[in-house]
């Protein structure tokens, strides 16, 4: 198998560390990393120091140097608001793009990214790893037996991400709070289950009671979505897990169909116990996650010259739900 050169652009999003670990372990990938914006994150991990700690042997100081290596593909892990400029840079250099979620902070930016990649003849994929997790694959396998689907209740709750990366608390860089950060994972799973059906109506309420002293952004959010055919969905996207909760958070879906009800706990594969010295519950994860399978889909598609999924349009559909949710939360009416 021919070796692919894969660049990781920015480590502002901590998912970069996971991707780098997986890519570094692949014999078919030559990895190059640049994180020039680490200087904007004083006191947080990043740059050459973090890259070397992750075992990266080829770290460069600028995106220009990274793109000069003529990467076949790049993974963009910048702050949400910088996805567009990095995608445009990468596309112009002829690299296929896997962009961290959400696609962008505005639908206009997302559309520009899709146009830039189309013009350059490169693929644009959005990093939605839960789609590739084994629990969700098992749900897809069981899906036909649920019959006609009428309703889905989804939750994606987490801790305040700004604890580890302060840009998540910056409205401009993150594009918003819990609604921007956590709606899209569930919206993407619904996009997969509903074959890309566009939402017909989005209603949202938000608040910022939880950790209101730590962020100006919304930490609580409930979306009610109407899909074609009368299907209804609710998403709890709140950053409602306590700061010292035993895990970062989780994602659940309850899918109600004429033939039955399926409950998915995408991160539920854990063993439980208790640790006396820290007086804390022990939750030990044995879930393999979806990152490896997602990277495999991206790189296989690059090799085979096909379009990887979820693509830019798919990412745009979930982003549109976010944009409509913010509009609804500000007007009070469904959008």
């Amino acid at each position: 198998m021919s070796e692919l050169t894969v660049g990781v652009m920015s480590m502002a999003h901590l998912h970069a560390a996971g991707y780098i670990g997986l890519l570094a372990a692949r014999p078919d990938v030559r990895l190059v990393v640049a994180d020039p914006d680490a200087v904007d994150r004083p006191g947080e991990s990043g740059g050459r120091e973090l890259a070397e700690r992750l075992g990266v042997t080829d770290y460069v100081d600028t995106y220009a140097e990274l793109l000069a290596r003529r990467p076949d593909a790049v993974i963009i892990c910048s702050e949400n608001a910088r996805h567009r400029e990095l995608t445009e840079l990468a596309a112009a250099a002829g690299a296929h793009v896997l962009c961290e979620k959400p696609l962008a902070t505005t639908v206009a930016d997302g559309e520009a990214m899709i146009a830039a990649c189309a013009a350059a003849g490169v693929s644009l994929m959005v990093a939605y790893p839960v789609r590739f997790s084994r629990p969700f694959q098992a749900l897809r396998d069981a899906y036909p037996q649920l019959g006609r689907i009428v309703a889905v209740a989804g939750t994606n709750n987490g801790q305040l991400p700004a604890h580890s990366r302060s840009w998540f608390g910056n409205a401009e860089l993150a594009g918003g709070g819990a609604v921007m950060d956590h709606t899209v994972h569930i919206a993407d799973l619904l996009d997969a289950l509903f074959d890309g059906a566009e939402a017909e109506s989005v209603h949202a309420v938000t608040n910022r009671m939880i950790r209101e002293d730590e962020t100006e952004l919304e930490t609580g959010g409930l979306l009610s979505i109407g899909y074609p055919g009368g299907v209804i969905a609710t998403i709890d996207c709140s950053w409602s897990k306590p700061a010292h909760y035993p895990t970062w958070g989780g994602l659940t879906l309850r899918v109600v169909g004429e033939g039955g009800i399926a409950d998915l706990d995408a991160f539920g594969q854990k063993i439980h116990g208790f640790q006396e010295p820290t007086r804390s519950p022990l939750w030990i994860d044995y879930d393999e996650g979806g990152d490896a399978a997602m990277l495999d889909e991206f790189l296989s598609a690059v090799r085979e010259g096909r379009r990887p999924q979820p693509d830019g349009e798919s990412g745009l559909r979930s982003l549109r739900i976010v944009e409509r949710a913010y509009r609804s939360a500000s007007t009070g009416a469904p959008a």
Binding site: T155, I210, T234, K241, G257, E258, G260
Partner: protein, 334 residues
């Protein structure tokens, strides 16, 4: 001053109705030492009394009203107002199954009539008495999770197979009949509800074959937000409920499907569906509820749920059903 916390010995209770909820209320009244008289328009009172080996049968509502001190109305929803008004006119304290009525004005008139007659009217919002929910309420009231901020409630049972219950015009439908429990509970611990937004889907309207789900989003006066989801699922689906309350200082959650203290796997699929199931590992919430009501009727302290709560719950369900029709959020007038 002494607080009365006992039930008047031999409290005479009239059970009106002999259907599903009567089967849960009759044994509770008998366990409380009440003398029970049962009247049912469909003639099923005798069968019920025989089955539970307790109580006597009245041949008419008037005969029942003459014989008792407390009337427990466990009839189909659309008949509640008439029976409650008759019981109030007879000067009897009243337990009325939820919802009081299918519209707010009627529910308010019932409360007013009972107040004028000087009798107590208490709604059967039994979820407030389920051990898990009771534990949640006490913990939240004690500040265990700080101020409640984001609340979720879910409830699922089999779709009603027939009769009045399956007809939304008579039962009020899924929101009025089932989700009203969660709307009431959300209001109890999240504070007064200001707006509701609701959606409903029925895969086979007008039949008993399909699946019905409703999702309601509510905003509370103190800033909290709530989500309730309710489902009437295919026949044979296990009765199930749960919640998560995330507050400023922590969270509490429960799902009946994942928290059974006793599981017996008999190797066979469950046959019929169930409307409600009561855990054998805690006291029946109906007994807990009716004991608290009986203490109140005997001159003790008021219970955790009031007639005004019963009206408020109807108002919330009506608002949610209005939102379903208009597609817009509905402000709930206090």
């Amino acid at each position: 001053m002494t607080v009365i916390n006992t039930i008047k010995a031999g409290l005479r209770v009239g059970l009106v109705g002999a259907g599903g909820i009567a089967r849960l209320h009759l044994p509770a009244w008998l366990a409380l030492g009440a003398q029970v008289t049962v009247y049912s328009i469909d003639g099923a009172a005798g069968t019920l009394v025989n089955e539970f080996a307790g109580g006597q049968v009245a041949e008419s509502l008037d005969e029942l009203l003459d014989a008792v001190e407390v009337v427990d109305v466990v009839t189909p929803t659309f008949t509640h107002p008439e029976i409650v008004l008759a019981a109030a006119a007879a000067g009897r304290h009243i337990v009325c199954e939820k919802p009081f009525a299918l519209d707010t004005a009627t529910a308010e008139a019932m409360v007013k009539a009972c107040a004028s007659a000087g009798v107590q009217l208490l709604p059967g919002h039994v979820v407030r008495y389920f051990a898990e929910y009771s534990a949640l309420q006490r913990a939240v009231a004690a500040g265990a999770v700080g101020a409640p901020a984001v609340l979720r409630f879910h409830r699922c049972g089999s779709r009603p197979l027939g009769g009045w219950f399956a007809d939304p015009a008579l039962s009020g439908g899924l929101v009025m009949d089932q989700m009203i429990h969660d709307l009431d509970f959300a209001r109890w611990i999240g504070g007064e509800i200001e707006t509701v937004f609701a959606r409903i889907v029925d895969s086979s309207p007008g039949t008993t074959d399909g699946v019905v789900s409703a999702h309601v989003t509510a905003t509370h006066a103190g800033g909290a937000i709530s989500s309730c989801s309710g489902t009437w699922a295919r026949q044979g689906t296990r009765f199930r409920y749960g919640f998560q309350v995330a507050g400023t200082d922590g969270l509490l959650e429960h799902d009946s499907a994942g928290a059974a203290p006793l599981v017996v796997d008999a190797g066979a699929a469950r046959a019929g569906g169930e409307l409600v199931s009561v855990s054998p590992t805690v006291e029946s919430p109906f007994l807990t509820e009716l004991r608290e009501f009986a203490v109140s009727f005997s001159g003790g302290p008021p219970p955790r749920v009031s007639a005004e709560d019963g009206v408020a719950a109807v108002r919330l369900a009506v608002a949610a059903n209005t939102s379903i029709l208009t597609g817009a959020p509905v402000e709930v007038a206090a």
